[in-house]
Amino acid sequence: MAEDAALATPAVSSGMTADERHWLLRRLHSLSGIVPIGGFLFFHLFENAYVLHGGGAWWKETEFTRTLPFQVAIEALVLWIPILFHAIYGLVITATSSPNVGAYTYSRNTGYTLQRITGILAFLFIGFHFFSTRGWYYATGVESTYARMHSWMIDPVYLSIYLIGTLACVYHLTNGIFTFTITWGLAVGPSAQRLVNRACVALFVVLAVVSVAILVAFRAPA
């Protein structure tokens, strides 16, 4: 009898248990922060950095992102769906936290709290940014030309929103790369984590400088 049981093919459970679904959602959240969202943020800063060569160069070099084959499908799969998922689930995760930096003033705890604050800021900024540029184009056909971006960047209110929004995204990504390496068991011990943390702080500084330089460059008259 016991032998029969041992020889029987193991029951293949169909469908996911609640635990497996929870794990999958958390892992997809972590992964989506890096690919595709984090990857896109790198690319987005890179393409827009062409503005440092002038508005003409910027418009010419970013041409291909406006003329992709299957444009909408690619944007939806690579950007909208992952960002919406990461943002909404990120808000769900944020709702389960109880920040306590007041009582426990460690630098990592500050990072934990900032990760949630910059997540909310990124959510608001990305929504605003998308609807006023790409979304606006789909709704009205008005393109986000250099003149349009320039008119915003010389406005202190818009410039402040963009500075806060991009710096929040950049902080969220670089701190997220650090926690990603812990989440997936890549940086395990304290000295490995310290090393990765330092590299991520350096990356934050570089990306922050690049972001500010791009925003400021849009202030130059065409």
């Binding site: 920040p99 926690t179 940086a187």
Partner: protein, 249 residues
């Protein structure tokens, strides 16, 4: 010269459902007084600073040498063992509160039994009982033994849960202590044979994926247990098990 005293401002609660209130007690200074011995003074003579007779403050304590974990409280806003907090070095009014992440039984006494339930849930033991002698286990090299020893010092005190921003009444997160214990059980060659069951228990809601990497746990652990190392390592173990199951089953 005025007599040196310590003022304890204590958060009190009659029973698990009643409202909280604060009372202050002034205790004459004595060399080597600690929070627990001062609470014992209050028990002997429960009179508040204003001279009002009150009930004795209820608290939990056992070993009085920071190894049992039962006297964990929030002292001046930070979680720690009350028995090892000397009056020496405390100035002004000292606030003493029960931990906020556990149900209060009465006054400073909390119920930490959920931590023991987590140990059961995650199979935090190594089954070696059988119908015959299993013989000696595999040998473990001394470095690994020493590293494992760090984790074996966990006294289930709850400091790490109290300081963790992901442990609260609106999250199911079991907290870091159990992750440390799962790491401990899995690093031993005999324990490793059952590690999949433990990893499975840490996969679901309340498990390791709910950690937000605030790393307060490793800062407050009175036994200096490398909890974040365990979180990184066990996070990798669960990820690998998940990928293995995904592609091999």
């Amino acid at each position: 010269m005025a007599e040196r005293t310590t003022v304890l401002r204590i958060k009190r609660q009659e029973n698990p459902r009643s409202a909280t209130y604060w009372e202050e007690f002034e205790i004459p200074y004595k060399a080597n007084h600690n929070i627990i011995s001062m609470l014992m003074e209050i028990r002997r003579n429960p009179v508040t600073r204003e001279g009002k007779r009150t009930t004795a403050v209820v608290f939990d304590a056992n070993c009085l040498e920071e190894v049992c974990g039962s006297c964990t409280m929030v002292i001046n806003g930070r979680v720690r063992q009350a028995c090892s907090q000397l009056a020496e070095g405390l100035n002004g009014t000292v606030t003493v509160e029960p931990m906020s992440k556990f149900p209060v039984v009465r006054d400073l006494w909390v119920d930490r039994s959920k931590m023991f339930d987590y140990l059961k849930k995650a199979h935090s033991w190594i089954p070696i009982d059988g119908t015959y002698d299993l013989g000696p286990g595999p040998r473990v090299n001394p470095q690994e033994q020493q590293f494992a020893y760090l984790f074996s010092r966990c006294m289930t005190c709850g400091c790490c849960l109290e300081a963790c921003p992901q442990v609260n009444d609106h999250s199911k997160f079991m907290g870091p202590a159990i992750i440390g214990q799962v790491y401990l059980m899995g690093q031993h060659p005999t324990g490793a044979m059952h590690q999949d069951e433990r990893l499975q228990a840490l996969m679901g809601e309340g498990g390791i994926a709910d950690c937000g990497n605030a790393q307060n746990c490793v800062e407050v652990c009175p036994k200096s247990i490398p909890l974040t190392t365990a979180i990184g390592d066990v996070g990798g173990q669960v990820s690998r098990k998940w990928l293995r199951d995904l592609f091999a089953k």
